[in-house]
């Protein structure tokens, strides 16, 4: 019997040690390099925001596949370095660093969470790497946390909230309440919204914040109902957002109070179904954009993935288009040259005309407000565009997160 025990343990030990040794092999790898252009994407593929990371992944993969089929960039093949951070900032920094040092990567995109971005951004200078964001909305990334190697191709959270509030200026709602998730993004967004409502001479009657991970929103729904508001701004994401919308629908809240939000993607109406009908939100990218480039993109996407492209998928595509334009303008991928080129790059693409502005590297682009409704060909409510605002109206002043008017 002791012998049996010994064999089991020895096998386990051997397995563990050889397995671990095998895992270390990549570090013994070579260092020769840079013919292909490497784009690093440390994404949150698992974890609570895993579905967002997966969207960014699909966006990167299709773009690179398409671009490579056209000969790559500057005649060089593009290679995607994709790794999972689990949504953990420590892992994001570690993996990004590894991509820089092991693979000689100097271009990053697709960091999923704002907390991950905020952890990575201070290191960009040390790594001599450029990061072009496709998803990070935190206003501070182009304000007090700004670094020269950071570029934001996507619509930021303040810009999203701004589009909604511009829409509301001419809408009939008078009294507004707000509910947000109790952390930085939730609080910031609600604060921006509140100041916007005051500037528009509307009534802001109150706000409440729910802890992350709240599952039962009955109390919050009661509060919203009791506030007397006719519209409520909802700054939520992920599971909390789905739970809130499902329950609000069950309490028939949308019949009394118009729900508004700053950002939405198709996973939400897919998850909550009819409870999302009538929701008004700013949307960063919508498959309904009516221009030739977008139609082409939507067709390409449907062919590859069998669905229409979602919010983050389109944003990732745009980010890479901007990157490509910068690379072609600079005729190189070397950091300083690329940075200088990106600072003034402009494209006409799936979202129309988009231009990076030099002062804070934000891509200035039009903002749009959508309303979810049932439509032919979809078994969940989908967005209809109800308002569009030009970029100069939705972008805040340089390095700021608030608006003057």
């Amino acid at each position: 019997m002791k012998q049996y025990t010994g064999v089991t343990r020895r096998r386990v030990a051997q397995l563990a040690l050889t397995g671990s040794a095998g895992l270390l092999l990549p570090w013994v790898r070579r260092g020769s390099a840079a013919e292909p252009i490497k784009i690093g994407a440390p994404l949150a593929l698992t974890g609570p925001l895993g579905s967002v990371g997966q969207q960014l992944k699909r966006g990167c993969e299709l773009w690179i596949k398409t671009q490579n089929s056209k000969g790559g960039l500057l005649g060089r093949e593009i290679k995607l370095l994709l790794e999972d951070t689990g949504g953990n900032p420590a892992d994001a920094v570690r993996k990004a660093q590894e991509m820089v040092e092991r693979d000689g990567c100097n271009i990053f995109t697709g960091i999923t969470l704002s907390s991950e971005a905020l952890a990575v951004v201070p290191k960009l200078d040390e790594w001599n790497a450029i990061f072009i964001s496709s998803d990070n909305g935190d206003g501070r990334l182009t304000a007090e946390s700004f670094v020269p190697n950071f570029f934001r191709a996507n619509i930021s959270a303040p810009m999203g909230a701004r589009a909604v509030s511009l829409f509301l200026r001419s809408a009939e709602f008078k009294n507004f309440y707000a509910i947000g998730m109790d952390y930085a993004w939730g609080r910031n967004s609600v604060a921006v919204f509140e100041s916007e409502m005051k500037a528009a001479k509307k009534n802001f009657v109150g706000s409440v914040f729910s802890p992350i991970g709240t599952k039962d929103f009955s109390t919050y729904i009661t509060k919203i109902r009791q506030s007397g508001a006719d519209a409520c701004f909802v700054t939520m994401a992920g599971d909390d957002y789905n739970a809130f919308l499902s329950q609000a629908g069950q309490y028939r809240l949308p019949e009394k109070v118009q729900l508004l939000s700053e950002v939405i993607d198709l996973t939400v109406p897919r998850a909550v179904g009819d409870a999302a009908v009538g929701l008004i939100s700013s949307m960063r990218y919508c498959f309904r954009f009516d221009n030739p480039k977008n139609k082409e993109f939507v067709a390409l996407w449907s062919k590859e993935y069998g669905t229409v492209p979602d919010n983050n998928e389109g944003e990732q595509w745009q980010a890479l288009q901007i990157l490509a334009a910068g690379v072609e303008k600079a005729k190189s991928t070397e950091t300083k040259g690329l940075r200088d080129a990106l600072e003034t790059v402009e494209i006409d693409d799936i979202k129309g005309h988009v231009a990076i502005r030099k002062c804070d590297h934000q891509a200035v682009q039009s903002g749009q407000v959508v309303k979810l409704a049932k439509a032919e060909g979809f078994d969940y409510p989908v967005p209809q565009i109800i308002a569009t605002f030009p970029g100069d109206k939705t972008a805040p002043a340089c390095k700021k997160m608030t608006y003057e008017d």
Binding site: G213, D216, D239, S246
Partner: protein, 289 residues
């Protein structure tokens, strides 16, 4: 809304929430009471119930069938796990169970993600309970009333099961003196597998019930497992009435606490747990630790 109306509505809300928490906690406390196993994977079984429920609804079109099938499936998975893995660890330290169920939680979560994808999935309530009633002049979802009722029914059923049936008697006896039960000729191992299966099945029931409220999503396990532990600790680990008391207490404190003291909402639950542990380490209705 006048005060009494508000209190009534909030109380009903709290009761429906208590039902969900009870489903989650009662399985955990049974498993601990009978087997002294702290089942870290309990939240994962709950989540599995929600996802299997989703698939069952898609396949059969009936929420009721899903409610019957999903907990059964989850219970079987639980019993198999006990049979295959936990049984080998009985002679070991209690922390071995902690570790292995923690590992199981990781494995199950990932398997669910691989099986159903990372997106949240919608589970509609049964059509007969998809509407509203006017409670104190405000719309109130009938599904929540159903949930509160179901909680009461299940609690009564478990109580009767433990008190009146032979298996219930065996379970109670095993929790007090497993060796004696074994000496009297009962297969204690079978009792253990059954209890673990029932405990997990109850978590699965909770998952199916919760799905129409919160959608079936991967994050469910992580958020609920802490809640489950808090209820069971407050009520007393191993005490069935304790899990009921704990669920009701936590639900009411949360619902009213969120209203009057929203800033403390997150900390409230832990503060109660701390208080209970300091003054009555065995829980409110448990045996002294």
């Amino acid at each position: 809304m006048p005060l009494y109306a508000f209190l009534v509505v909030q109380s009903v809300n709290a009761l429906s929430q208590a039902a969900l928490l009870f489903f989650l906690g009662v399985g955990l406390t049974l498993i601990f009471g009978i087997m002294r196993i702290v089942n870290f994977a309990h939240g994962a079984f709950y989540m599995l119930g929600a996802f299997i429920g989703y698939s069952a609804v898609r396949l059969t079109g009936s929420f009721w069938l899903a409610l019957a099938l999903a907990p059964l499936a989850v219970g079987v998975v639980g019993a198999l796990f006990e049979f295959g893995i936990l049984r080998r660890l009985y002679r070991r330290d209690e922390s071995a169970f902690l570790m292995v169920t923690f590992g199981l939680a990781l494995v199950m979560t990932e398997l669910i993600r691989l099986g159903w994808g990372p997106e949240a999935l919608q589970v509609a309530p049964p059509p007969v309970f998809s509407g509203i009633v006017m409670l104190m002049d405000e719309p109130f979802p009938t599904y929540r009333l159903f949930l509160a009722g179901a909680g009461i029914v299940v609690a009564l059923a478990i109580w009767q099961f433990l008190e009146r049936t032979r298996l219930g008697l065996l379970i109670r006896a095993t929790s007090q003196n497993a060796e004696m039960v074994h000496a009297l000729g009962t297969d204690v191992n079978l009792v253990r597998s059954t209890v673990f299966g029932i405990g997990c099945g109850l978590a699965g029931v909770g998952g199916v019930f919760a799905a129409p409220l919160v959608t079936a999503s991967i994050g469910m396990s992580a958020t609920m497992i802490i809640d489950a532990f808090v209820i069971v600790i407050i009520g007393g680990m191993g005490s069935f009435p304790g899990s009921l008391l704990g669920a009701v207490l936590v639900a009411f404190v949360q619902v009213f606490g969120e209203y009057y003291l929203p800033d403390l909402a997150l900390a409230l639950m832990y503060l109660i747990m701390l208080a209970v542990l300091v003054f009555r380490p065995g829980g409110l209705l448990g045996k002294e630790a």
